[in-house]
């Protein structure tokens, strides 16, 4: 009870400080000379209040204070402590409070760490950031207050959705939000820089750190979500082109494009319009992500809480932000003309520009696929869904030139270049084509498309691999990231080509005899746990080579809320995953069994980590 009061008033105080900060900033902006110390103190105070408010909510969750509506809706006394804490951000209200926490934290760090930049720029960034922060404060206090009272106080909470009670998903939102919200700093400072006409190489060097930080977190956040979906949802896939997944991919694509633009801008004053537009796009897409996931507008297989009224607020807020930022862009931004002259076709920046267009294309495909169903529902109330074939058909063909450009682009020099090592580049291409042809030939699948795709990915793989040896530490970050990407695409392709699946219904004691695989359903054990009952099934699986595996997937029947989840049993090895999941069909003796052999699953996860490692190295690298 007391914690809710503290939390609630901290929020209101934080909002007041936001308003005070805007006032001081404007004053300071007029008679600038020095950054007013008051600004720094008030920013700290605001951060402090948000932290207090956040901790109050965490404590309410830990002590199961059911006088708090959010706690009542999302917690339960029998839940393990770890999930009580992670339950804080496993719901709409708490997750928005976390957003706010990261927003205020980042602007404070920004103010502290930004040196050698004009005072005016720092102040203006703060003002733009405060506009976002105030918007979120209002949103939180008015429409989704995490500290609403409940009276009479219930004895027991409703519990957290069991599929969210998982270690990967417990840390997935904070990591993802660090990525999402990190883009708010890029947004604010890009607007400030535009207003002050200082979008230049100097600014690019300064903002690159922030771009890298949010890019790393966003990449890892998506990875965690994907790993979770793989073992928890029981479909054995890692990406379903589900709207909820797409909304995290869109800011990632925008951010990746932005990162490459910044790399160009670091060296040469060009692509400034790209940088500004992409900074705006990344943040608005991140906000859209939160909005679409939390408002329930999306018709998704993993939709959580629904509330359209909240959606309206964010939608208005979002459109105001987009409108204002575009206004600033068109009023203040005058692209410099003098650099157009020395833009040569064969140069690193041209290749980056070409791949930027490809990424924008991928982004628009994902955007249309995600938004079109909502749009159609609003105008004609027709319910449709857009499935994986749409994305595959539109994205895969364009991956081929994209991969080739990723391989050759870094070989070019800045500004003007000619292609060296032509013979060597060409011979590697031939080798890649030959290898992939021999791999694909043995399998019936679509030979032509797969050969070309795999050879493009292999080509990038070989070139980046070779560069590790010849280029030594020069441009290591880029090389690692591109190497990781080639590994990712290769793993996904091989995973797609060579996966096999058996779905059958079995009773205890029965045996499935397939052409290659024999599955024996040996027994089931039941166990009682603190907040669920578990049914563990024991399978003995023999493959064509006579290798025997024992796998024990589990069904968990949670008591509060009463939900059954299936826990897949996965045997992970370097080369392949063996994945089995069971389901009980109501009132029947049959268990629904799904057994999959998925090659290179581990490599999909590893390659994404390698990609983010590239970002990390770039972040730590001292500029020479």
């Amino acid at each position: 009870m007391i914690y809710s009061v503290v939390g609630h008033y901290s929020l209101i105080l934080g909002l007041c400080i936001g308003l005070i900060l805007v006032y001081f900033s404007i004053q300071n902006f007029r008679n600038f000379n020095q950054l007013d110390n008051k600004i720094l103190s008030f920013s700290f105070l605001q951060l402090f209040f948000v932290v207090v408010s956040f901790l109050a909510l965490v404590i309410s969750f830990i002590i199961s204070d059911f006088s708090n509506e959010t706690v009542f809706n999302n917690s339960h006394t029998t839940k393990p402590l770890f999930y009580k804490i992670s339950g804080t951000w496993g719901n709409h209200e708490g997750s928005l409070l976390l957003w706010l926490l990261v927003l205020t934290l980042f602007i404070f760090i920004f103010l502290l760490r930004t040196k050698n930049q004009p005072i005016k720029y720092k102040i203006l960034t703060l003002v733009f950031q405060q506009v976002i922060i105030i918007g979120f404060f209002l949103f939180l206090i008015l429409t989704s207050n995490p500290f609403n009272y409940l009276f009479p106080v219930p004895n027991e909470g409703l519990g957290l959705n069991p599929i969210l009670q998982d270690p990967a998903l417990a840390i997935h939102p904070p990591i993802l939000y660090l990525g999402y919200v990190g883009s708010s700093i890029i947004f604010s400072s890009a607007l400030a820089a535009t207003t002050l006409k200082m979008v230049s190489t100097n600014w690019a060097i300064h903002i690159k750190k922030w771009v890298l930080i949010s890019w790393i977190f966003l990449t890892l956040g998506i990875l965690l979500g994907s790993i979770w979906a793989y073992y928890e949802l029981g479909w054995g896939g890692f990406w379903f082109w589900d709207p909820v997944e797409n909304v995290s991919l869109m800011p990632w694509l925008a951010l990746t494009t932005l990162l490459h633009c910044i790399l160009v801008l670091e060296r040469k004053e060009t692509l400034t319009s790209w940088v500004i537009i992409l900074s705006i796009a990344t943040f608005t897409l991140s906000m859209c992500g939160t909005f679409l996931v939390r408002s329930g507008i999306l018709n998704s297989v993993h939709t959580f809480a629904n509330d359209p009224e909240r959606g309206l607020f964010i939608l208005i807020f979002l459109f105001t932000l987009i409108f204002l930022s575009l206004l600033i862009f068109f009023v203040f931004h005058k692209p410099s003309q003098n650099n157009q002259a020395n833009f040569f076709w064969l140069s690193k920046e041209t290749s980056i520009l070409i791949n930027n267009w490809f990424m924008m294309y991928f982004l628009s495909v994902v955007l249309i696929g995600t938004v079109y169903p909502i749009f159609l529902d609003v105008i004609s109330s027709q319910k449709i869904s857009v499935g994986p074939p749409f994305y595959h058909k539109l994205i895969i063909p364009f991956l081929i030139p994209f991969l080739l450009m990723m391989a050759i682009g870094p070989k070019l020099k800045w500004i003007k270049s000619d292609l060296k090592d032509k013979i060597y580049l060409f011979s590697l291409l031939v080798i890649s084509v030959l290898i992939s042809f021999f791999i694909v030939k043995n399998f019936n699948a679509n030979v032509l498309v797969n050969t070309i795709l795999i050879s493009a990915a292999l080509y990038l793989f070989f070139i980046t691999l070779r560069d590790f040896f010849i280029k030594k530490y020069k441009n290591l970050a880029q090389n690692i990231a591109h190497f990781g990407f080639s590994l990712l695409i290769l793993s996904i392709l091989f995973n797609n080509l060579f996966s096999s699946e058996i779905i059958t219904n079995l009773k205890v004691g029965e045996t499935y005899n397939g052409s290659k695989t024999k599955i024996v359903f040996e027994s089931i054990n039941q166990k009682k746990q603190k907040n669920y009952n578990s049914i563990i099934a024991n399978f003995s699986i023999t493959n064509s080579e006579g290798i025997n595996n024992n796998l024990s997937p589990e069904l968990r029947i949670y008591n509060q809320p009463k939900i059954t989840t299936s826990e897949a049993d996965i045997k992970t090895t370097l080369m392949k995953d063996k994945f089995i999941v069971i389901n009980l069909v109501q009132n029947q003796d049959y268990f629904n069994v799904r057994y999959q052999v998925k090659p290179f699953m581990l490599w999909i996860w590893l390659s994404v980590m390698i990609i983010s490692l590239g970002g990390l190295i770039s972040l730590l690298k001292k500029r020479t």
Partner: protein, 139 residues
């Protein structure tokens, strides 16, 4: 020199425009081909001609209608007005149960028989696919 520059710029803009138009055309075209429509059993009954594309059918799983054998799961989807038989051989989501909402994706064999390729999971007991909610509200 100036003329050449303008020409180049003109060429560039045209190129971008053509690419843009092509892209939009391509996206919309494949959107049209790959969209999956949602239909309730009643809507299927009143179809003038049978849809050969992949569709989604949603409603409630009828009580005592689930029947499992080693190859497939059979059940009936109802919207309390009309119903349709569904046969499915694949993995069943956790919350698939009688008298609960369900969305099945697959192909129509005829007006009374649906062959599902996928049954969609829902994660929350209180959650009902918006499509199902709508179909049930209209009953």
């Amino acid at each position: 020199m100036y003329g050449r520059k303008v020409k180049l710029r003109f060429l560039f803009v045209t190129l971008i425009l053509v690419t843009l138009i092509l892209t939009v055309f391509l996206i919309l075209k494949s959107l049209e081909e790959n969209v999956v429509y949602f239909q309730s059993p009643t809507e299927i009954k009143t179809l003038s001609e049978l849809d050969t594309n992949k569709i989604r059918v949603g409603g409630m799983v009828k009580k005592n209608s689930i029947n499992v054998n080693s190859d497939e799961v059979n059940f009936i989807i109802t919207d309390f007005k009309n119903e349709i038989n569904v046969s499915y051989s694949g993995a069943v989501p956790n919350l698939f149960a009688e008298e609960k909402g369900v969305v099945a994706e697959g192909f129509l064999k005829d007006r009374n028989f649906f062959s599902a390729t996928k049954i969609l999971a829902k994660h929350d007991e209180n959650y009902m696919p918006p499509e199902v909610k709508k179909a049930l509200e209209e009953k």
